[in-house]
Assembly symmetry: C2
Homo-oligomer: 378 residues x 2
C-alpha cells in the first residue's frame, strides 16, 4: 500500500512536470531542456578565470523586476551611476585620459581626451553616445567606454550626456544628439567624425542616424555599433537562447524591456526612432559591429548587420567566443578588449576622412615676420 501511494505521488508529479507544459505549447515554440555550459576554453586567461569563478546565473529575479514609479526608476539609475562614475574616474587616471564637462548647443557633453592624440587622428573626433538601458549612466558614469576609446585609439572623444527617461522619453535623447551633431558640423567635416556607442547607446546612435537622414543632415564617416539593443520588442533568437548564458545582461524581460517601453514614450515600439532595426539603412556609413557567443543581444547585432549589408553598406562583424553583453568594457583588461579596440581603430583609420582644413600648421606668429615682395616671380 505504501509503495502504491508513493508511486501515485510520483505519477502526479510526472504528470505536472511533463504533460501540463506540453499542453500549453504553442506552434513553433520549442521547450529547450536543461543543459550544462562549461567555461569557455578558447578565450584569454582573464576571461576564462572570470567565467570559472562564476556560479550558474539565476535569472528569475531579473526577469520579474519592474519599477512602478518614476522615483523607483530614478533610484535604480542613481544606484548604478555611483560605482560607474567612480570606475570612469579611476580608469581615466590610470590611463592618463582627461574628462572635462562642457556644453555643445546647450547639451551636456564630456570631452574625453588622451594624453597624446595619434598623428592620424589629429583631425578626427569620436562622437560617443553612452549606454545604460536608456536610463542609467548620466553624467560621468557614461564615460567609461569613452575613456577606453581615448586611451586605445589615441583619439578625441565627445560623449553626449543626453536627457533620459523617466523625465525625458524619446525623442529627447536623439534631439540632443541632433543638436550636438549640427553644432559639430559647423567646424568639422562629417566624414572626419565617427559616431557610436554600446547597447542602449548604439540604439540611440542608430536612431539618430535615421533622423539625420530624414532631416537631410550629412552623416558621420563611420559608425561603431557595440552589441546594440535595436529592438525594444522581445524579438531575436539570442534573447531566448542566451538568457542565463549572458553574465551581464541577464534577461530582456524585466528592466531592459520596461526601460525601453518607458523610453519609447508615445512612439510605437517598432518605430525606427526607438527600435532602429525597423528603419531604412540605405546610405548608412561604413559600420563596425561587435558581439559575443554569450551575448543576449547577439541577434540584435547580426540583424542590423544584415540590414546594412542588404542595403549595400560596408559593415564589419566581429563575434568573440565567450563574451557576454559588453564584456569588452566589463573586462577592459582582457586581451580581447584590446583586440576589439585595435580592430575598431583600424576600421576608423580606413574609413574616416582626414580633411584638409584651413588651419595653419606653420608656427604661430611667423606670418608677421616674413613679407613676400609683390614683384617676385613665383
Amino acid at each position: 500500500m505504501k509503495t502504491k501511494q508513493i508511486l501515485t505521488a510520483i505519477q502526479i508529479l510526472i504528470f505536472a512536470l511533463v504533460l501540463v507544459p506540453s499542453a500549453l505549447a504553442q506552434e513553433g515554440v520549442w521547450k529547450l531542456g536543461p543543459r550544462t555550459l562549461p567555461a569557455s576554453v578558447d578565450v584569454s586567461d582573464v576571461m576564462r578565470e572570470t567565467l570559472l569563478k562564476l556560479p550558474t546565473i539565476d535569472v528569475s529575479a531579473a526577469k520579474g523586476l519592474v519599477f512602478r514609479t518614476d522615483e523607483e526608476w530614478e533610484a535604480w539609475a542613481k544606484e548604478g551611476n555611483v560605482p560607474s562614475a567612480a570606475a570612469a574616474r579611476a580608469l581615466a587616471e590610470a590611463l592618463s585620459v582627461t574628462i572635462q564637462e562642457d556644453k555643445i548647443a546647450g547639451v551636456n557633453v564630456h570631452r574625453v581626451t588622451p594624453s597624446a592624440i595619434d598623428e592620424d587622428h589629429q583631425k578626427h573626433l569620436f562622437v560617443y553616445i553612452h549606454g545604460g538601458g536608456w536610463v542609467r549612466n548620466a553624467g560621468i558614469a557614461g564615460t567609461i567606454e569613452p575613456v577606453l576609446i581615448a586611451a586605445h585609439l589615441k583619439m578625441s572623444v565627445v560623449s553626449i550626456d543626453y536627457r533620459m527617461p523617466p523625465k525625458h522619453p524619446a525623442p529627447a535623447a536623439t534631439d540632443d544628439v541632433i543638436a550636438v551633431w549640427k553644432e559639430l558640423l559647423k567646424e568639422r567635416s562629417p566624414a572626419s567624425m565617427a559616431m557610436g556607442g554600446t547597447s542602449g547607446g548604439a540604439n540611440i546612435m542608430l536612431s539618430s542616424v535615421h533622423r539625420f537622414k530624414d532631416l537631410g543632415l550629412p552623416l558621420p564617416g563611420a559608425l561603431y555599433v557595440g552589441t546594440p539593443a535595436v529592438d525594444i520588442n522581445m524579438i531575436g533568437d539570442s534573447r531566448f537562447i542566451n538568457e542565463g548564458v549572458d553574465r551581464n545582461l541577464l534577461s530582456w524581460k524585466g528592466i531592459p524591456y520596461n526601460a525601453g517601453v518607458m523610453y519609447a514614450g508615445e512612439h510605437d515600439l517598432k518605430h525606427p526612432y526607438v527600435s532602429p532595426v525597423y528603419g531604412d539603412f540605405s546610405g548608412f556609413p561604413p559600420s563596425y559591429f561587435i558581439s559575443g557567443t554569450r551575448d543576449l543581444l547577439l541577434s540584435d547585432t547580426v540583424r542590423v548587420h544584415r540590414r546594412l549589408r542588404r542595403a549595400g553598406v560596408e559593415a564589419d562583424l566581429h563575434i568573440y567566443e565567450g563574451q557576454s553583453h559588453g564584456d569588452y568594457i566589463a573586462l577592459w583588461n582582457a586581451p580581447e578588449s584590446a583586440e576589439h579596440y585595435a580592430e575598431l581603430n583600424a576600421f576608423l583609420l580606413e574609413h574616416l576622412a582626414m580633411p584638409l582644413t584651413p588651419v595653419s600648421t606653420l608656427p604661430a606668429g611667423v606670418s608677421k615676420e616674413i613679407e613676400i615682395p609683390k614683384s617676385v616671380t613665383y
Copy 2:
C-alpha cells in the same frame, strides 16, 4: 500517515533532482535551466514557416549514437548518400547545371558547370571540398552545394571527391586535395582560384591550406569557410548552448565527434591537420565566413574568424538570424540562401585575380586569314 509518506517521497525526488546534480557540479560549469524558444521572427517567410512546423528537437538519441564497426559506419554513410545524390541531380537539372565525373591527378572529382559562366568569372575556378562529417557525401552526393555555387555565382566548380574513413583516415583527404591543387596549379594561377566548403568540408579545406603552407605551395586567392567544424574536441560555447537549438546538427556528441576521432586516425585531436583552428593562420588568403544564431558550430566559425583577424588576414563574417548549421544549403530556396551566395560572389569578385592568360579572345580562325607584312612600320 499517508500524507507524510507522500511528502517523504516528494522530498526524496527533490533531493535526487536538485542536490545530486549540484554535488556533481564542476567549477565554471553552469547548469542552464529549461527555456522556451519561439520560431525566429526577423527571417524570411520560407525560414519562418520551416521553423514553425518543427516540434521541439529531441537530441537524446543523437547524443548516444555511436557505431562500433566499419560496416556500421559505411552503412550510415550509404544511407545518407542516396537521398543527397538524388537531390544533387534534381537541383542540377532544375538549375541547368551539369555535373561531370572526372579525375585530376588520379583523384575523383566532379566538374560542376553552370549553363553560362559570368564574364568576370571566365578565368576563375571554385575548388570545392564537400562536407558530410568526414564520412558522408561520397560521389555525386557531395555536389549539392557545388550546384548552388555554379548556379548562383555562374562560376565553374571542381568538387573533390576525396577519400574518407573508415577505410581512409587523415591524411588521405588532404593528400587528395594537395594532389588536385598541384595539378590545377600547372594551368591556372593560384590567385584565380577560390577554395572552400561547408562543415567538414571547411575543416578539410582549412587543414589543406595549412599543409599547402608547410609544403611551400602557393595559396588560393580566396577561401570560403561555411559553418566550419574546426575542432574535433568538444570545445566551443555554441556546441553546448545550441544543442537542441540547431535543427540540422543536433549535437557534437554521438556521430560528429566519433566520426572526427575516426577521421583523425593517428593524429592528436589538436593537430592542425585535423583540427585546423590550432594552426598558424598567418599569410592565409582573404576568407569569407557564414554561420547562424542557431548554429551548433557558431563558435567554431567565430573562433577561426578571430584567428585570421589576429593574423592580419582580411576575413568577412556573416551571421544569419535563425539559421542552423548549413541552412543556406538545406533551405536553398530561402531568400537568405540567395543573399549568402550573392555576398560570397561579391567577396570572390573582389579578391580573386583575373589573370591575363595567353588564351586568345579573338574569333577562332582569324589568324589564318590576315597576314601582316613584315616590312610595315608598326
